[in-house]
Symmetry: C2
């Protein structure tokens, strides 16, 4: 299954609880799109949030994020990793 | 040890071998800055490369990347993760 990194800008001040809630909202519905969100990292200072997922397509990743209430600003397939 | 996500833009067309070489160049010298690059992901289409590291500071991350010949465009501390 392809991997994707998606980015949310503007999440300045995000807390650990808010990140967890957002991630749980994705996990609750991801199965309907055959997506799995594996990990997320946040920088409350700059407001950047990065999510790593496995999914059939970038569109499927975005659909889950949109339905969970937090559309991503960028979704990139990352076919290479080390 | 704090975690960091750094981003390189403009790496369009990067290959698996090139990503591995760049990562190895970081690993070869990272110890001198007490940095450890844990993982890297690349999107050859958009040219985005993401590196996850543990390091004492963003400056230490950047010094390793610069000495290895590939300065990052952004380095963000990511104190939150799920």
């Amino acid at each position: 299954m392809p991997e994707f990194m998606d980015i949310h800008h503007g999440m300045t001040g995000i807390t650990a609880d808010q990140l967890m809630e957002a991630h749980q909202a994705d996990l609750a519905i991801e199965g309907e799109e055959n997506v799995h969100f594996k990990k997320a990292w946040a920088d409350p200072k700059s407001g950047e949030v990065y999510c790593l997922s496995e999914a059939p397509s970038a569109e499927a990743v975005q659909r889950v994020h949109e339905r969970a209430g937090h559309k991503a600003d960028e979704v990139h397939e990352v076919p290479l990793s080390v």
